[in-house]
């Protein structure tokens, strides 16, 4: 009993930290330009596929293809912002929602067309296997993905707080007009944030590809959960998204274990509803 409890807590942290990284990308985009990117889950799918193809075509382990995933997703993010989002930013809010939804459907179907709906796995990642630590079985790829996600999240946090560009992003997030008056190029900050947010989800994709199956619709539930995390943590809050990600991991895994696995996602959304009811702005909003 106690053994499984410890095992379940470890598992919650492993999945929760990856959720957090996915959600941080989303919350960054939301915080800066108030756009909810519905294609975020599909960006994750693309990150996973990039890692998969790097592995299959160039024998590059997902750990090594992290920079490739980050760079390509950064470019995709900037491209989507420049050519699509910035055009509809002037229109009504609903247009932005619908356009990212359109991007989502487009990407998922493009992936089906290019790579077929088959399921892929990275067969032999550099780091594979399980460590037995007493009664706890620790999957090595999951552990690496989790530690990696924490490191990347911390790096983003430091980047935003310590660098000039990071501070500019935060300034735009706080008050766009004031930032503009201070001489910050908000248009550049927008596309940069969209790029960074997308790069983060690309990195998360590379991490997930070490142990998760890859197929065109893989982003669906991850995307949905990351929306929930962003709202729970407070729209635009990096720290909030991180804490909420871990929290959701705990609720999902422990709830599934002690209560009933059939309702574990229902529990996740219940926690979200209760939090929003008590604190509509989210935990750190």
């Amino acid at each position: 009993m106690a053994d499984q409890l410890l095992q379940q807590i470890v598992n919650s942290l492993l999945i929760g930290s990856v959720y957090a990284l996915v959600a941080i990308g989303l919350t960054l985009i939301w915080g800066v330009m108030n756009v909810l990117n519905f294609a975020h889950g599909d960006f994750l799918m693309l990150g996973m596929f990039i890692a998969f193809w790097c592995y299959t075509l160039f024998k590059m382990d997902p750990l090594l293809s992290i920079p490739v995933c980050a760079a390509l997703l950064f470019l995709l993010g900037v491209g989507v912002y420049r050519f699509i989002i910035s055009k509809v930013m002037k229109g009504p809010g609903l247009a932005q929602l619908v356009v990212t939804f359109g991007v989502s459907i487009f990407l998922a179907n493009l992936a089906v067309m290019l790579w077929t709906p088959d399921f892929r796995l990275i067969e032999k990642p550099l780091l594979a296997g399980t460590w037995s630590l007493g009664s706890v079985q620790l999957s090595i790829p999951k552990f690496v993905a989790s530690v990696g996600s924490v490191v990347v999240s911390a790096a983003v946090f430091l980047f935003l707080k310590k660098t000039r560009t990071g501070k500019a992003i935060l300034a735009v997030e706080m008050n766009r007009d004031a930032a503009l008056l201070m001489g910050i190029n908000t248009e550049r900050i927008n596309s940069l944030s969209f790029g960074i947010g997308s790069a983060l989800v690309g990195i998360a994709g590379a991490f997930l590809s070490m142990y998760y199956y890859i197929y065109p619709q893989v982003g669906g539930l991850f995307g949905l959960i990351s929306f929930c995390i962003v709202a729970l943590g407070g729209f635009g809050s990096i720290e909030g998204a991180f804490i909420a990600g871990i929290l959701i991991g705990l609720v999902q895994t422990l709830g599934g274990y002690f209560f009933d696995p059939a309702y574990k996602y229902a529990l996740v959304f219940l926690v979200y509803l209760i939090t929003v009811w008590i604190r509509p702005q989210g935990l750190m909003g």
């Binding site: 598992n11 399921f119 669906g220 999902q252 895994t253």
Partner: protein
């Protein structure tokens, strides 16, 4: 709504609503006969849908062309009783969702005027789609959905060729009984694990019923949300309950994730008896050797060719046409077009009532089907094929091998399941 009066709007609306009934049935023999095929061609189950589609395409090619095979309508081009009319398939994408299944069934019937409908793989989708065809009075022949409830609804136009999960679940328990009697492997406790849609929940129900009937103790009864991101809590529960045998009903995404999580967390029952996801063509390429020793229910395995030459002939044609091996899904979806076309041919008409009557008289002998059955004949009340049975295949060296019934086994069953740690 400027110049549309309320009256004209109502008249137009009711005409639209009645239009399916205003179309008179085609009486003259047409050149082509349309049948609607509903499958999840996009979405989560797109790879499965594609697989089913290949089975149907193969069947239609055999019906429309001339082949020296013992299948119904193979030796003639098209349907001889309808002047050699050929089948034309109208594909409809359900996206794996019941509401689309219903809408698409309505569309192919009202717009494309199909003579009959086949599909839709997922039981939940077949359920809504067949309710639509029932309302529109169009025959529906299903050979790929396995929820027992589908043939328990008393529908007049719905027929099922393949075995349902009640039969499959019963097979698994017969296997456990035979295993104890003939191979001296005793099993006492079971873990029942199932996804929570139409398919899984009904299998779970059947499993629990038979467990009681056969006197096994259920150590874990776990239902879970399908398409999960993580299943460690489910596997944690299983490890704690430590059942002798796991019974698992899942679609492919969860089958892959569970297999990986079983290995990672070291869940080692004596045997795993599974359904559906574990036999889809995407499963083994994804999990490779980790799939070994898992036992899956099946209606088809390529090794049946040893005892039934027709299986080998069809499998060869299939491989030539699509470049891949014929899978269980393709093999199941393969039969519905034959059953429907054979009935239309005997009915000498595409009129629904005549086809339904002919379907009731269907009597396709065992040597004309690619499964180990005695044939196809529908129960007059439930309209379920009374000869449909299943087999169990085990994954050995990353191949599906028939292991039960023991008398038609291609290889001996490997039991117990070797612990994950002891494997290379």
């Amino acid at each position: 709504m400027g110049n549309v009066t309320r009256r004209s709007f109502l008249i137009g609306g009711s005409a639209l609503a009645l239009s399916p009934w205003l179309v008179s049935p085609v009486l003259a023999a047409p050149k082509t006969i349309k049948i609607g095929a509903l499958y999840p061609l996009t979405g989560n189950l797109a790879s499965t849908g594609l697989d089913c589609r290949r089975g149907v395409e193969m069947a239609v090619a055999i019906i429309n062309g001339k082949y020296d095979l013992s299948l119904p309508l193979a030796k003639t081009e098209g349907l001889p009783n309808l002047g050699g009319a050929t089948l034309e398939v109208v594909w409809a994408d359900t996206r794996g969702e019941p509401k689309n299944g219903q809408a698409e069934a309505e569309r192919v019937v009202t717009q494309d005027k199909v003579a009959g409908v086949i599909g839709a793989y997922q039981s939940s989708v077949t359920k809504t789609a067949s309710q639509a065809t029932e309302r529109l009075s169009i025959p529906y022949v299903c050979s790929d959905s396995s929820s027992p409830t589908l043939t328990e609804r008393g529908l007049k136009y719905f027929f099922r060729v393949s075995p349902h999960d009640g039969i499959f679940a019963h097979d698994q328990f017969s296997f456990l009984k035979d295993l104890a009697a003939q191979k001296k492997h005793k099993v006492q406790t079971l873990g029942v694990l199932y996804e929570n849609t139409e398919f899984g929940s009904n299998v779970g129900k059947e499993d629990l019923k038979y467990a009681q009937e056969y006197g096994y103790q259920v150590a874990a009864d776990i239902s879970y949300t399908n398409n999960a991101t993580d299943v460690t809590s489910e596997v944690g529960r299983l490890i704690k309950a430590n059942p002798d045998v796991l019974l698992h009903a899942s679609y492919i995404t969860d089958a892959i994730l569970f297999t990986k999580t079983f290995k990672e967390m070291g869940f080692n029952p004596k045997g795993m008896l599974t359904m559906a996801g574990y036999i889809e063509p995407g499963y083994l390429p994804a999990v490779k050797a980790d799939g070994n020793f898992i036992i899956v229910r099946s209606t088809f395995a390529l090794d049946l060719a040893k005892k039934k030459p027709l299986v080998g002939q069809v499998a060869d044609l299939f491989k030539k046409k699509f470049g891949i091996e014929m899978s269980e899904n393709a093999a199941r979806s393969f039969m519905a077009p034959f059953v429907l076309a054979e009935a239309i041919n005997r009915a000498k008409s595409t009129e629904a009532e005549a086809i339904v009557k002919a379907l009731h008289d269907t009597n396709i002998p065992g040597d004309q089907v690619i499964y180990p059955w005695k044939g196809i004949q529908f129960d007059p009340k439930t309209q379920q094929n009374i000869h449909a049975t299943g087999t169990l295949v085990q994954i050995q060296d990353q191949q599906y091998v028939t292991v039960w019934p023991f008398e038609s086994a291609a290889k001996d069953v490997i039991w117990p399941f070797p612990a994950w740690k002891s494997r290379k």
